[in-house]
């Protein structure tokens, strides 16, 4: 280390020594002022330029990423809406095939029923036969005065009786005819009801069709918006993607809980199969890894099953398989899944046996009284519960494929969006740093001039005495350049 005394030009006088040193330094700095200004300016500009360039590149990259994200988002949205429209059309097709295929039969039935009603109606319209012509003769006889004697009286009585008989008969016939008509009308009633029912059914089916058509219209509108790459569609899809991401994350967390329970169920009995004393890492037993592998295999089988059923579309190769191969794959996955579920149920039973054995050993070692036997079927409930859980959980895990697909797809959008934002923030930070570097170089120039302020003032004085152009000591413009 250099001794401070070595720098003392005037060893006995520190102040004078320092003053002389400062003066020498000032003169040296003044002499180097122009090249030093150049160096500081060059470094500042180089830094600022590089940072600004990097910032621009990042902003451009962010814009590209955003465009790419938008393209991916719209493509996903288009695919999803397209699939939904396709499904709606399929549904409409099924509806049309199922309901309108029977429409000619329905129409014929309606026509037949209407014809029959018409015929019956016509029958009802037939008026009873008019009273016979002798009614007028009876009216004439009725006008004969009754004072004509006994014979006339008798004749009139007989005529009256005869007329009354005929009247009763005619009235009876008339009533019978009306009864028949009423019967016919009564017979029409079921046909009316049938027609009403049929028409209601037709109305409902047409209503369903209209509803489906409205759904298709709505989806088509959405599809058009996506195809037009509108900002509204992008915003809707981004929100939807975010919602999907959250929902999928929640469901996956729940599934992870299920997997953890499953793991706990089979980790101990797996030690009976692969050994309890083997360790893969410092704290990871082989039996635990084996249990984990079984759970992962179950999840994979579930994934393949869902793919083969075309519920998820994570593997295009499986989706594009022909129907026969796909059906085979469904059966293979299902059989493997069932086998694994049975194995898990057996392992759950084994777990209970192992725990009971360990408990019995510990009790015998403690030399305490043997444990009371469990209460029949009540004591077996936990074992049965474990077995049922062991059987059910693999199937429950199989459905993880659905939220997993949503999670992967939405994570792409969310991640892409976050990355673009991050790049933009980084670009902004570099821009700020660039500006800071530029201003710092200016500040350094001013500071440098501050260090050599005395020589600058002398220079100014000498120039003014010579009558030359007056140069102000702080002769830097706003950009840090020396003024001419």
């Amino acid at each position: 280390m250099t001794n401070l005394q070595d720098w003392m030009i005037w060893p006995g006088n520190t102040v004078l020594s320092v003053l002389i040193l400062v003066l020498i330094a000032m003169i040296g700095l003044y002499a180097a002022r122009v090249p030093m200004h150049g160096i500081i300016r060059a470094i500042g500009y180089a830094l600022a330029g590089a940072l600004r360039l990097a910032s621009r590149w990042l902003f451009a990259a962010a814009v590209q990423m955003k465009e790419r994200n938008k393209a991916v988002l719209l493509a996903q949205g288009r695919r999803e809406v397209g699939q939904r429209i396709e499904r709606e059309f399929e549904r409409v097709g099924v509806l049309v095939t199922r309901d309108l295929q029977g429409y000619p039969v329905l129409q014929r039935k309606l026509r037949e029923e209407i014809t029959r009603i018409e015929e019956d109606y016509k029958k009802c319209g037939e008026v009873p036969p008019p009273p016979p012509d002798w009614v007028e003769a009876v009216a004439a006889v009725a006008q004969i005065r009754s004072g004509g004697g006994e014979v006339a009286q008798k004749i009139l009585d007989e005529i009256r009786q005869s007329i009354e008989r005929i009247h009763d008969k005619a009235l009876g016939e008339y009533r019978r005819a009306y009864e028949e008509r009423h019967d016919i009308l009564e017979g029409i009633l079921p046909f009316w009801r049938s027609i009403e029912k049929t028409l209601k059914r037709v109305d409902k089916k047409l209503g369903d069709l209209a509803e489906n058509a409205a759904t298709v219209d709505a989806q088509m509108k959405k599809y058009r918006q996506i195809a037009a790459k509108s900002d509204e569609a992008e915003s809707i899809l981004a929100t939807s993607s975010f919602t999907q991401f959250n929902i999928a994350a929640i469901v996956l967390t729940i599934a992870l809980g299920g997997a953890f329970i499953n793991f706990k169920l089979i980790a101990l009995p797996m030690s009976e199969m692969v050994g309890a004393g083997d360790y893969l890492t410092a704290s990871l037993r082989t039996s635990e890894v084996a249990a984990l592998v079984i759970i992962l295999v179950e999840a994979s089988m579930g994934l393949f099953l869902m793919e083969a059923l075309r519920i998820t579309h994570l593997f295009p190769r499986i989706t594009n398989l022909n129907d026969r191969a796909r059906r085979r794959m469904v059966w293979i996955s299902l059989v493997l899944l069932v086998t694994l579920a049975v194995v898990e149920a057996a392992l759950a039973l084994m777990r209970d046996v192992l725990i009971a054995d360990k408990q019995a050993l510990l009790q015998s070692l403690a030399a305490s009284a043997p444990a009371a036997p469990s209460d029949g079927w009540v004591g077996r409930i936990p074992m049965a519960g474990q077995m049922v859980l062991g059987f059910i959980l693999p199937f429950a895990l199989a459905f993880v494929a659905i939220p997993l697909e949503s999670f992967i797809h939405s994570a792409r959008n969310i991640g892409g969006s976050l990355l673009a934002d991050l790049v933009r923030i980084l670009g902004f930070a570099l821009r700020v740093l660039g500006n800071l570097a530029r201003h710092l170089s200016r500040l350094l120039l001013h500071f440098y001039d501050l260090l050599v302020v005395l020589p600058l003032m002398v220079e100014h004085l000498v120039r003014s005495l010579r009558g030359g152009p007056v140069v102000h000591p702080r002769s830097l413009d706003s950009t840090g350049e020396l003024k001419p």
Binding site: L268, S271, E272, G275, A276, G277, D278, Y279, L280, T281, A282, L284, L314, F315, V353, L354, D357, K358, L361, L362, S364, L365, A366, A367, I408
Partner: protein, 221 residues
């Protein structure tokens, strides 16, 4: 998508393999050698040894090893091993072995007979041999004794022994009548054993007199 998933899987597998490669699975295996002093008055304490053996049987895991040997006039011999077992990897088999082990030691401890001298050093050398042969990651010698070594004139044990990487735990170190007169004898005896054991390369020396604190056997001090 598939490529990315495949890459992630390869990386994960690589990490697991690397982690597995960095550790020795044998480090988790324990081997315990229990020495039971059957000399003189201490033979009366032998019944308590069953408590320790039971604790060990309940604590040791499948794959671990356990041996019980007696300490008598000359104990550097396999014949002094009362029972030994390397527990099976399968828990059910290991439990069966433990039951048999317990029955064997129980039968011995009921009929234990006192010996004239106490060859603790010879028993420790025998124990170290057994433990090193097991290849276990954690080796422990449990000495159930008053730690008062008494040898006949012919027996030679005054030479350096090797207990490298072995934990030595003295359990139920009872006080002799002379210790009660001058406790420095007891403390001095324990100190001398500690020095000898540490000089022999033992990784740990511990004394546990309270049989309710047996969990300290497997905890590091």
């Amino acid at each position: 998508m598939i490529k990315r998933t495949f890459r992630a899987l390869v990386v994960a597998l690589g990490l697991v393999t690397a982690a597995a490669g960095c550790t020795d699975p044998r480090n988790h295996v324990q081997a315990v050698y229990v020495l039971i002093d059957t000399s003189g008055t201490y033979a009366r304490e032998a019944g308590k040894a069953q408590v320790i053996i039971n604790y060990l049987l309940g604590t040791l895991q499948p794959g671990d090893s356990l041996a019980v040997a007696r300490v008598q006039s000359r104990s550097f011999s396999e014949k002094d091993i009362i029972a030994k077992a390397m527990f099976d990897q399968r828990p059910t088999q290991a439990n069966a072995q433990k039951r048999a082990f317990r029955a064997k030691t129980d039968a011995y401890l009921r009929t234990v007979q006192g010996s004239a001298y106490t060859d603790i050093t010879g028993a420790m050398i025998q124990g170290a041999e057994f433990l090193n042969e097991t290849g276990a990651g954690r080796k422990t010698i449990l000495i159930f004794s008053d730690m008062q070594e008494e040898l006949d004139k012919v027996t030679i044990r005054s030479f350096p022994i090797s207990l490298k990487d072995i934990r030595v735990i003295a359990v139920n170190v009872t006080k002799l009548n002379t210790d009660n007169i001058d406790p420095r004898r007891y403390l001095g005896r324990l100190e001398a054993w500690q020095k000898r054991v540490e000089r022999a390369g033992a990784s740990e020396w511990k004394v546990i007199n309270d049989l309710d604190r047996l969990d300290a056997i497997f905890t590091k001090s």
